[in-house]
Symmetry: C2
Subunit: 318 residues, 2 copies
């Protein structure tokens, strides 16, 4: 894997060429003394010898010739597609775990929670109708925010909301309560959380257990006029059930950043629905500079000591 003293590390992705070029620039800037290069530039011998690769939604066929691959560093935090496409592969998959990502996601959750709390969609509709009308404002402490998923992202989001005075509860597989946030668990806990919630924030990983979790029954368990923010993965919500709940007026508004198919197809009823805010998967973009420093630290530690960072648990799916 060495060539004239420089380790060449393969970069494997299905990105557009301009995206890949800017990632390569950021990664190489963070790793002086190494060379991160597109897979196509490696010789067959280099591919066969590579023990580590940097990946972003890679074509699994590209990884097959790397017989000695020990682990791959993903640039993304969500790796469910890669997991399903590389079942049985012997290498470990390390997710991006950038503290900046959690801060950016927490910022997004706070921003769109305030968007709903402050009635921005309604005031927007009033502006279109040149209508001047004030609506009562609840105090933040009287606004109940339920968070599904309390991993790194969910915890950071909960902290940001608590700091801003909101009444926050969460639900996760394993109850791990923390200051100021009651944590529920299990089927009954989920129902109890949904019954209580004014604004539901979804930050769960997509797994066989969470696919379709927010079905007709659970959406109906939310109180009348509750709102939903989905910053996790589209298939966690049943789209038909959500549209029905919005159309009957049971739910007030949905902020959707993720969809079963992305980009969202032009024919989707979400685009024109007055009760839906469509975002193009922008809640927590990876910051190339901070993420490249994480990748650099992980790869350098491995090259120097052989230590592989903790990988995804293929059974749990995250």
């Amino acid at each position: 894997m060495s060539e004239g003293g420089t380790t060449r590390i393969p970069f494997v992705s299905r990105m557009r060429a301009d995206d890949a070029a800017s990632w390569l620039a950021a990664l190489n800037a963070a790793m002086p003394g190494r060379q991160v290069v597109p897979l196509a530039e490696l010789t067959p011998a280099e591919r066969a010898a590579a023990a580590v690769a940097i990946v972003a939604d890679p074509d699994p066929a590209d990884l097959l010739p790397m017989h000695r691959l020990v682990w791959v560093q993903s640039l993304w935090a969500g790796v469910e597609r890669m997991l399903s496409e590389t079942q049985g592969a012997p290498y470990a998959i390390v997710r991006m775990n950038d503290p900046q990502l959690a801060l950016t996601m927490a910022e997004a959750v706070l921003a769109w929670t305030l968007y709903l709390h402050r009635d921005m969609p309604r005031y927007r509709r009033q502006q279109q109708a040149a209508q001047w009308r004030q609506h009562p404002l609840a105090l933040a402490r009287d606004r109940r925010i339920g968070i599904l998923g309390l991993g790194n992202l969910g915890k950071a989001a909960a902290c940001a909301l608590v700091n801003q005075g909101f009444n926050v509860s969460g639900w996760s597989r394993t109850a791990s309560g923390f200051d100021g946030v009651e944590t529920l668990t299990g089927e009954d806990g989920l129902d109890a959380l949904l019954e209580w919630t004014d604004i539901l924030v979804i930050l769960l990983p997509l797994t066989p257990e969470t696919r379709g979790l927010m079905d007709r029954r659970r959406l109906g368990t939310l109180p009348v006029s509750a709102s939903i923010i989905n910053f996790a993965r589209g298939p966690i919500i049943d789209d038909d059930a959500l549209l029905e709940a919005l159309n009957t007026g049971h739910l007030g508004h949905a902020v959707l950043d993720v969809f079963a198919t992305e980009p969202l197809p032009e024919a989707s009823p979400y685009w024109k629905h007055p009760g839906v805010t469509v975002l193009p998967h922008i809640s927590a973009p990876t910051n190339k500079a901070t993420a490249s420093r994480i990748v650099a630290a992980n790869v350098e530690a491995y090259l120097r000591t052989g230590m592989v960072p903790p990988g995804v648990d293929r059974a749990k799916g995250y």
Copy 2:
């Protein structure tokens, strides 16, 4: 001013009857043992004897028969209209100074700063065009927020923004720097702040000095694509100059909650301008429950001890 042991305190306003009724309910709930009553219910003798009144944008003619009025408690924080209508009047005017008001305003500043920081107006336009397109996201620490006015409201807003990681500077009449917020003062300081600012937040009182402060030259001092949030008073901005700056593309967006004439006239070009978010004066509504407790404490202290709370400085105008 006593009747059967109960002090009757006049309530003087030009509110709609239903608004006045809900204020009277909140005030009376906060003042057991007193009676807050509409002016019309007082006898001429009671009016002549009244030393204190609770007011909300009162008709000055209504206050004239109260010869012994020592002070009035306003329900509003902004009293410039009352000041200009009651020049030379001998009584003190006490503004509403509710800590909840500052928290609510800080929440509004944070909410609409995040609205601009997170490009919500642009993603809204994209949704209308069924367009899926991601834009780069700046880190909060690289987003420069300039606050005009660092009284109670400005300081609370600055703290909320600093807590969320933004780069915040402020400008006020008297430089009173505080942790993490550089404070500028004077004409040169204002120009320096404007040159530096990505998002300008206006929280100044309306005085002869601040009327028309954001004129053509000062709007032009802001960097290209800067945005403005005005949560103070409409006449602080020159409307024609603002529209020009938005139309030439010098400014990116304006969030306007206050206007020279309110409700905003139907003919105003702001309603339909794609670069303007019109809000119906909702940034920091007074919370009737918390405000009534402040009024109660001030009035009770006066009735028991004769102590008048600090009033507005008629020379400064706030």
